[in-house]
């Protein structure tokens, strides 16, 4: 078998795996609805006369078995119909516009956090690794270990109370779209981003530190140094390139924790993102909407991780060989 067909086969296998996971996770969420202690019909069918009841039941696919119910949902979902919020009057309020409104807000939040975390943790991790074992490194390590252990909502509440209320430097809650007022947007985002970024920075820095220390011990680094290459050159070409792979992989994995984090943080700071929408869906018992929100998050998370996986393959040929071999 030549190299190209081999690669294509591997890619097809990956794609199939990806589809299995996506279908599986959305089906899992769909099954959740069947586990409701309350019947879906009692929750969402409000018509009083029998004909109206039957019509509503059919419109919501509630007369189908779990598998068919899922397939109907999937078919709608693929076509961009994310289900509806059902009002007691029988009025249907589609979920799709809510997702398109909330998604960018959450994505922006996550993007700021990842960007800030990487910008801070890369120099900090390198610094810490070069001074490994010295007092400054031990202090940084200990502080970071604690910071990584403290849940982000703790930071959120403390930051909101200190900077938002006591000092009143920054608005303790609210959200302003960047198109409306960029400065206000950044001011409202500052505290939530910080709350999510502190534990993230700690995690990344610790990881990079370990990685850089390990890389510094590699023979090829000693070799490069003995060839007379400058420290900066060694740092960028021999140390950071392999280390960045671990960093980006874990940044991708950390997306899951961040998405979970935004759920809480958005509610604390009343940011109209996916977390807030999910909260509303839970409180008003809109489980069709909840199903689609969770499905969107799961699909996004899986896709993002696969993309990073592929990107890592480009940066680090070693992982590519391992996978194919």
């Amino acid at each position: 078998m030549n190299d190209l067909t081999f690669k294509l086969l591997a890619a097809a296998r990956r794609l199939a795996q990806l589809l299995v996971v996506i279908v599986g996770s959305t089906f899992l969420v769909s099954l959740l609805l069947q586990l409701l202690p309350v019947g879906l019909k009692e929750l969402y069918v409000f018509a009083l006369d029998e004909a109206g009841r039957q019509q509503q039941i059919q419109a919501l696919h509630l007369d189908k078995n779990p598998v068919m119910f899922y397939l109907y949902w999937l078919w709608d979902f693929v076509r961009g119909d994310f289900g509806s919020i059902v009002y007691p009057t029988g009025v249907l309020d589609p979920v799709m516009p809510k997702v398109t409104a909330a998604m960018p807000v959450s994505l922006r939040l996550v993007f700021y956090v990842q960007a800030l975390a990487l910008v801070v943790s890369v120099p900090l991790g390198i610094l810490s690794a070069y001074r490994a074992g010295r007092r400054s490194d031990r202090v940084i390590s200990y502080v970071l270990f604690s910071a990584a252990s403290i849940p982000n909502f703790v930071f959120a509440l403390l930051l909101a109370s200190f900077f938002g209320v006591t000092l009143a430097w920054l608005p303790p809650l609210g959200y302003v779209a960047p198109s409306e007022n960029l400065v206000e947007h950044l001011r409202t985002m500052a505290l939530p981003v910080l709350a999510l970024a502190i534990p993230t920075i700690a995690t990344y820095t610790r990881l990079l530190r370990t990685d850089v220390i390990a890389a510094l011990r590699e023979d090829y680094v000693t070799m490069a140094a003995s060839k007379g290459l400058s420290n900066i050159r060694i740092l960028f070409t021999h140390i950071l390139r392999p280390s960045s792979v671990t960093l980006f992989t874990s940044a991708a994995l950390n997306m899951g924790a961040l998405i979970g984090g935004t759920l809480v943080i958005e509610q604390i700071f009343t940011i109209p993102g996916m977390g807030t929408e999910i909260g509303i869906a839970i409180f008003s018992r809109q489980y069709f909407a909840l199903q689609s929100y969770v499905a969107v998050i799961a699909i996004g998370y899986v896709l993002f991780n696969s993309i990073v996986d592929i990107a890592v393959g480009f940066v680090d040929p070693r992982s590519r060989d391992r996978r194919n071999g």
Binding site: V20, V21, I22, G24, S25, L28, V29, L32, L33, L35, L36, P37, V38, E42, A132, F145, S146, A148, S149, I150, P151, F153, V154, L157, L158, S161, V165, T210, I213, A214, M255, G256, A257, I259, G260, G261, L263, V264, Q267, I268, I278, G279, I282, F283, R285, Y287, L290, V294, I297, A298, Y301, V302
Partner: protein, 266 residues
């Protein structure tokens, strides 16, 4: 710190639900209330100690149960290989594809429900649901670790030797694989306890956790909107929670450091 987390719930203290009208929102170290009270006059120390029971019960039970089921599945998958391995591993992947807090939130929100929204769900049932949900969240995390560890161990010489001497599979797994896989599970298990304590707090903040105020998360959730009146009511549970999580992570990290040669050296 770990000691504090363990002994915490055996110290006898006054009823946390009792409130002191005369001493609402008093500061720490005031007479009768060592850590002060919150805006409603609830004694914070007593709440912390009794909340510890709920928070730790939830986390230890769900990690224990999830760890057990996860390990059994993981070891089974890795030892048997083949189709069973594919099914179990894919199921783990599917469950991990939903961020764990989102999964936990969805499970609790769906399962802790009453036909009539006006009737609040019985607290015991709610706690049961939270434990079940968090167990489900933990299973794939620890199951994967168990699978990975078993994969590396089951090809080692002594396992192959045992098999070639005609030892039964069950015996091989119990004698040779489980003891070697367990340390890895313990290490990650402690980290998972920290994760679950945080998750419990987060669920409370999102309004689906324990609601009657006897867990750390509920304490935080209750005062989250009003902490300017009694700042200590915010700082106390937040600090206790953070310290406990740090303690759990420290133990987990220590265990992992001894196992992981690469990181252990550093």
């Amino acid at each position: 710190m770990a000691l504090f987390a363990v002994v915490g719930h055996w110290i006898p203290l006054p009823d946390p639900r009792e409130f002191d009208i005369d001493a609402s929102a008093v500061g720490p170290f005031s007479p009768g209330h060592l850590l002060g009270t919150d805006a409603g006059g609830y004694d914070l120390l007593s709440n912390i100690v009794n909340g510890a029971r709920t928070s730790l019960l939830i986390s230890i039970v769900s990690v224990g149960l999830g760890g057990f089921i996860g390990s059994v599945l993981g070891i089974l998958a890795a030892y048997r290989r083949g189709r069973l391995d594919y099914i179990i591993n894919t199921t783990f992947n599917i469950m991990l594809s939903i961020p764990n807090l989102v999964l936990g939130l969805a499970l609790v929100a769906v399962l802790a429900n009453n036909a009539d929204p006006a009737i609040p769900v019985n607290p015991n049932r709610r706690m049961f649901v939270i434990i079940v949900s968090l167990t489900i969240v933990i299973i794939p995390i620890l199951g994967r670790i168990a699978r990975g560890a078993t994969l590396t161990w089951s090809n080692r010489e002594f396992v192959v030797a045992a098999r070639s001497m005609g030892m039964k599979d069950l015996n091989i797994v119990l004698r040779h694989i489980v003891p070697n896989v367990l340390p890895a599970i313990y290490a990650v298990g402690f980290l998972a306890v920290g994760v679950v304590i945080v998750a419990e707090g987060a669920l409370s903040l999102l309004g689906v956790g324990i609601v009657d105020g006897l867990s750390w998360g509920a304490m935080i959730a209750r005062v989250a909107g009003e902490f300017e009146y009694a700042p200590q009511s915010m700082y106390v549970p937040v600090l206790v929670l953070a310290l406990t999580v740090i303690a759990c992570n420290q133990i987990g990290d220590f265990l992992r450091g001894r196992l992981d040669v690469r990181e252990g050296k550093i």
